[in-house]
Symmetry: C2
Subunit: 350 residues, 2 copies
DNA sequence: ATTAGCACTCGTAGAGAGCAAGTGCTAAAA
DNA sequence: TTTTAGCACTTGCTCTCTACGAGTGCTAAT
């Protein structure tokens, strides 16, 4: 059933006001604001209907109205106007790009920080856990008792560990190790390491097989580690400023969401993977008073991560959405279709 | 001025009780508990004196007593009994060691997690930011448009970045880059890069000088990044369960401490560096109701980091201290005097 | 279809009473 | 001299009650 123009106006005004003040909004309040040229009684009638239609609700009988999830949904889907980022805000966001960082991970971290500051909500960025298939191994001699073990995965991501060993190592030996690994462990993920490949690996090591156990353990660790570092969270305390979370129990629930980063990343990515664009979620994850805006980051057609904002359900969606969209548009420009990010190079006539 | 035996007993009982319940403790309560065989009136008199001496205080005139910072101090410095870790608890802690991890960083992370779970307070681990002097550079070819730039610092720590470039690279060229870096940038820290060394670096690159800007920027980034990943925090929400933090404002203050990890690491390390052993801090950092137990981690005479617990000022110090000490003792055993950590090797007759 | 008016509902803030906990002090007992 | 019982006093907390204000739905008039 379609909403009449006036109902839309009223719904929008209610939500705008509620977002601004956090107070349930009554009919009288609306007669003053907005371009509604009707009396409070008329508005009351309309609000009554909006309530029956499921867009508004009353905290208690004699209070004003508050939007329902459905109300917010229609609001973000078409009612709210577009937010124009101020020059100030653009400056802050652009700074993220100007301080060129070569890795998208760090770029997203700074963006997340900037967005949290700008919107005054909690912001987070998540890098999609990379495919776990090892493609190639490299070793690098550090000193007599340690070396760097580098694993290059099929998706291009790289992991490495500084391995310290008791026995002494030398570059040639490390070369042997790398070769043995590449011969036996290439393309594996954690599950398909077989006893056979392990044995073959040890065999190829020849005289150096003493190091096998250590190396295998490190590789196992690399394959299974969840890169919890790739989850960034910024401005958690900001949430606590909103009355929605002034009850410690609620605050606890909200913050608990970020506590287990691994788990959080999974939740976020599972919601972002199938989406092409920005999505808005209300009152999920046992957080009835929270809203989450989620923006997948897609580069060259692949979802590499997501950046998002969490705030009270009545957060300023238009501002949040504008910020996230500005970021993702510019990330696109910077990373699409190329693996390099330098303007210096473009300037050179080469 | 020395405390009489009886005063000590009373002070200890008060603090024990307060830690357990969080309620101010009155004179009557103590007649029941502990081995004080005196009446409440006597205890009242003693408490009165303890108050004048600065060990106890009253939240308000008709309430029981609460320990002051001074009270806690003497308590942890000698009054409290030793806590014996239960078999359960030992099991949890030992698991951290049994799942052998080669890097102390990860070991401390798991320990921090275990300790937080065990004590039900927030726990953290910090790895001391390594000396920022580059000692040696290495490059590793990944593919035509990217390579790994590895920086080995004077203190043995290693940083690396996956550098993506537009131009195509090959192993020989990367060798040139590494050589040029080692020739010009060895031993530098962020401040003493001179224009001259930059120019010399470019010169040594010869035909490949196009890559100079990118490489230099990455190195600058590596030298200045603060390894915020090396701060681990576990169980923040646990704090919120204690009445001390049931006021959102207080909770906010407490959590804000962990918000800026870089800043937090600095604070922690500046307190740990000069200490050889465990220290206890009460009501610092604008957190009047919080206590922090800090345990520096020293390996081969060098303070490599710290692990600690933050809880309400009335936290169970004896348990916390026992856990931290158990951990640090075993870390010592595992890392002291050797760079390897494998029992597998020890078992071998080699 | 809109609006003014009104009775009604409900949450909140404030005042006051009563209660419980705990103290300091005094005077008696050990 | 030290300890103890007894008591008056202080103070915060909880409960109830009231008044108030905000906002509603409904009815009747425009």
């Amino acid at each position: 059933m379609e909403l009449s123009e006036r109902k839309k106006k009223i719904l929008k005004s209610v939500i705008d006001s509620y977002i601004r003040t956090g107070e349930p909004v009554g009919s009288k309040l609306l007669t003053g604001t907005s371009d509604l040229q009707v009396s409070s009684a008329t508005i009351r009638n309309e609000m009554n209907e909006l309530e029956r239609m499921g867009y508004l609700e009353q905290p208690h009988a004699s209070a004003g109205r508050v939007p329902t999830a459905e109300g917010y949904r229609t609001y973000v889907d078409g009612l709210m106007e577009q937010y124009l980022l101020s020059l100030e805000e653009l400056k802050v966001l652009n700074e993220v790009f100007n301080y060129k960082v070569s890795e998208i991970e760090r770029l997203m971290e700074s963006a997340s920080h900037a967005i949290s500051e700008m919107t005054n909500y909690t912001s987070f960025s998540v890098i999609r856990p990379s495919g776990r298939n090892a493609q190639r191994f490299e070793t690098l001699y550090i000193d007599e008792h340690s070396f760097l073990l580098i694993m290059i995965c099929t998706d291009g991501s790289i992991r490495n560990r500084h391995v310290k060993v008791r026995m002494s190592v030398d570059p040639e030996m490390l070369k042997t190790v790398a070769d043995a690994l590449n011969a036996t462990m290439s393309g594996v993920c954690s599950e398909d390491v077989t006893l056979q490949s392990v044995l073959e690996f040890e065999e190829r090591l020849g005289a150096h097989s003493g190091i096998a156990a250590t190396v295998l353990r490190v590789i196992y660790d690399m394959l299974n580690s969840t890169d919890s570092e790739k989850v960034h969270i910024d401005g958690v305390t900001k949430l606590l400023s909103y009355p929605e979370f002034s009850d410690v129990e609620k605050a606890k629930d909200a913050i608990a969401l970020f506590e287990d980063r691994r788990d959080f990343a999974q939740k976020i990515m599972s919601r972002s993977t199938d989406e092409k664009g920005l999505t808005v979620h209300f009152g999920e994850a046992d957080l009835p008073d929270a809203g989450i805006v989620l923006q997948p980051i897609i580069i060259n057609g692949k979802t590499v991560g997501a950046i998002g904002v969490m705030g009270p359900k009545r957060m300023d969606y238009k501002k949040v959405i504008a910020s996230l969209q500005y970021f993702v548009d510019n990330v696109g420009k910077q990373f699409e279709g190329e693996s390099e990010n330098e303007q210096e190079h473009r300037k050179k006539p080469e």
